[in-house]
Symmetry: C2
């Protein structure tokens, strides 16, 4: 299966997700690691499309997500930068583009090592909390912790 | 917003739905009307994309679906035939293409007026019941009715 840039943009407009999460990491000064990722989840019957996306972006992994759902996932910073270049030259057409811009901003802050200090991390959390639609109680909790600490 | 054919295929691979339902219609010999439709549902924030699809296909309507969700919907048989031509020359890449083939088969049967007689209607119901993933208790009920009747 050969994908074209426009098909990829349309499919990601529908099914893609730009996501930023935090993970406890005692060895880091701020105590948390920032984990940005680009994910596309599909039912297992559409695994061929996930592998086609992996070939298209020349990076990422396809893994089982939950039950009969599989995810194509890009997590490496270097690879995510290339994903950002792609969606900058081939803009998403839905409001997902707003999430993408925020995602790119987080990657930029990480490129400047801002996530390694408290102030930068709070800034990243503030961006992440306005991304996607679900509420992020965990991020809010960590943010309060960082404000107090 | 200008859409390209490939973007439309990618977006419909993710968000589109080919659906066949039945509605009671006492004036028809078989008692039921077949209602095929092509639908794309989005949150109201992405209404511009629905209107762009309407312009792209040069037919259909955009209406509120439920709550904050809006639907772009094509129901006219003549318009659906053009939609079928588009997705025949620009094939979907996910398993949604299987649903599309079934949808096209139903439209073909309707073109041959098979939905106006009991046997053809049962055939259409059998196809519709294997489309999409949700179970269709209403179609099963009507099918049993037609078998008995």
């Amino acid at each position: 299966m050969e994908l074209t840039p426009d098909w990829v943009v349309g499919f990601v407009d529908g099914e893609g997700c730009f996501h930023v999460s935090l993970q406890k990491h005692p060895e880091m000064t701020v105590g948390y690691q920032v984990l940005p990722e680009f994910v596309v989840v599909q039912h297992e019957r559409d695994m061929p499309v996930l592998y086609a996306l992996k070939r298209f972006f020349r990076c990422g992994v396809v893994r089982r997500n939950h039950g009969d759902r599989y995810a194509f996932r890009i997590r490496k910073l270097e690879d995510l930068k290339r994903v950002c270049e792609f969606f900058t030259t081939h803009p998403l057409k839905t409001k997902k583009n707003v999430d993408f811009q925020k995602f790119r901003r987080v990657l930029h802050l990480m490129g400047e090592k801002r996530h390694l200090e408290r102030e930068g991390l709070v800034q990243i959390i503030d961006i992440a909390m306005t991304m996607n639609t679900a509420s992020r109680p965990m991020l809010e909790k960590i943010r309060r912790e960082l404000e107090v600490g």
